[in-house]
Symmetry: C5
Subunit: 86 residues, 5 copies
C-alpha cells in the first residue's frame, strides 16, 4: 500500500456505469522517492481532505469492492492515525 | 486511476483480432511526478481530444470489457468535469 | 520481490473491516534506482524495525493471505539473513 | 498500452518450457517521461525491427495467449500505422 | 519481461512456508531508463551469477509456479544467449 494525503474531490459526471455512486478523491503520495505522485482513488471509508490515508492499488483494489468487472485500480482503505509519526 | 489529457488518436490497422472495433487514444498524465507520461488507452465513453479523463490501468481495465482474453491494460473510464479544478 | 528495510509501524484505527488484525509496517526500498521508495506492507512473519526484508507486491501479496477480497498489495514474506551481503 | 519501437530480437535457448516457440523482441518506449525504457515482449503479429508497436503489459498480456500459466508479462499486440503521427 | 543481470544469491532463513525450496537471486535491470533497478527473483532454470536473464514479473510469475497462493512476483524464466547482442 501507499501512504498518501487526500488533496481534493474529483468529479466526473460522464463515466462508466459501474462507477456510479462511488466517490473519487485525488491523493498525493507522501514521502520517499515517489513523493508528489498523484493518484485518483475510490473512497470507501469517508476520508476527508487533508487526511493521511492508506491506498491499495491494482487488482486488490478492485476485488475488495465485491464486483470483478468494475474499472477501479486504487482505493482508500484506511486513515493513518493522527499521532502516528513517520 | 490516473488523471490524464487526451492528446491524439492512435491508428493500428494490423492488430490482435480481439482488439478490432476498439478505439485507441494517446493520453498524457496530468500533474504530479508522473506528469508527461504517455499511455495508450481504449476509449469506452467517447472522450474527445483535449478532454481530461480518468484512466484505469491493469487487469481492472481488461475485466470491465467483459472479455478476459483481450490484451488491454488501460481504459478511459470517465471524463473529469470541466469545472472540477485540481 | 523487493529488498527493503523496516522503518516503522503504521497505525490506522479506521480501516476496511477485512484489514482488522493485520500489522502494517513502513518499509524503504534498499539499493538500486528505487532506493528510498516507501511502501506500506502487511507483516506476516513478525519482522522487526531495522531488519532487511523481502517484500512481495501486487496480486501475489493478496493471494497468499488466503482471502481474495482483502485490499492488500504488499506483504513482508521473508527476513534477509544478517550475514547475506549484497 | 505503451507505444514502443522494436529494436532487436532477443534469443534465449535455455528458457521455461512453456516459452518454447514464442518470439521475443526488445522494444523501447517512445515519447513521454518513460522514453527509453526497455521491455522484452513476446511478438504475436510478426512485427519488424524499426516498426512502432502497441505493447500490452501485465496479466492482460498473459491472458491473451490462451494459457494461464505462461510466464509472459508483455506482448506486442498491434503495429501503429506509418501515417499515424503523434 | 525485463533483461537483467544476476548479481548475487539472497538468503532468507525466516520466510513464508510456501517459499521453502525456492532459490532467490538478486538481479539488476540492464539498459534503458530502468538500468540499475534491483529485483529479487525466484530462479527456476539454474541461472548463474553474471548471466543475463529474462525476468517475468507480476501475477504471470506466480502463475507459472503452479501454485496460486505463493507470494512470488518475479521469476527468472530464460537465459539470454551469450552471442545475443543488444
Amino acid at each position: 500500500m501507499i501512504a498518501a494525503k487526500v488533496i481534493d474531490n474529483i468529479w466526473a459526471t460522464r463515466k462508466a456505469d459501474s462507477l456510479r455512486g462511488l466517490k473519487f478523491m485525488l491523493v498525493e503520495v507522501l514521502g520517499g522517492i515517489d513523493k508528489g505522485r498523484l493518484i485518483i482513488a475510490a473512497d470507501t471509508i469517508s476520508a476527508g481532505i487533508g487526511e493521511r490515508v492508506l491506498v491499495c492499488t491494482g487488482s486488490s483494489a478492485r476485488r475488495m469492492l465485491g464486483q470483478d468487472d468494475i474499472p477501479i485500480d486504487a482505493v482508500i482503505v484506511g486513515i493513518i492515525d493522527e499521532d502516528c509519526t513517520f
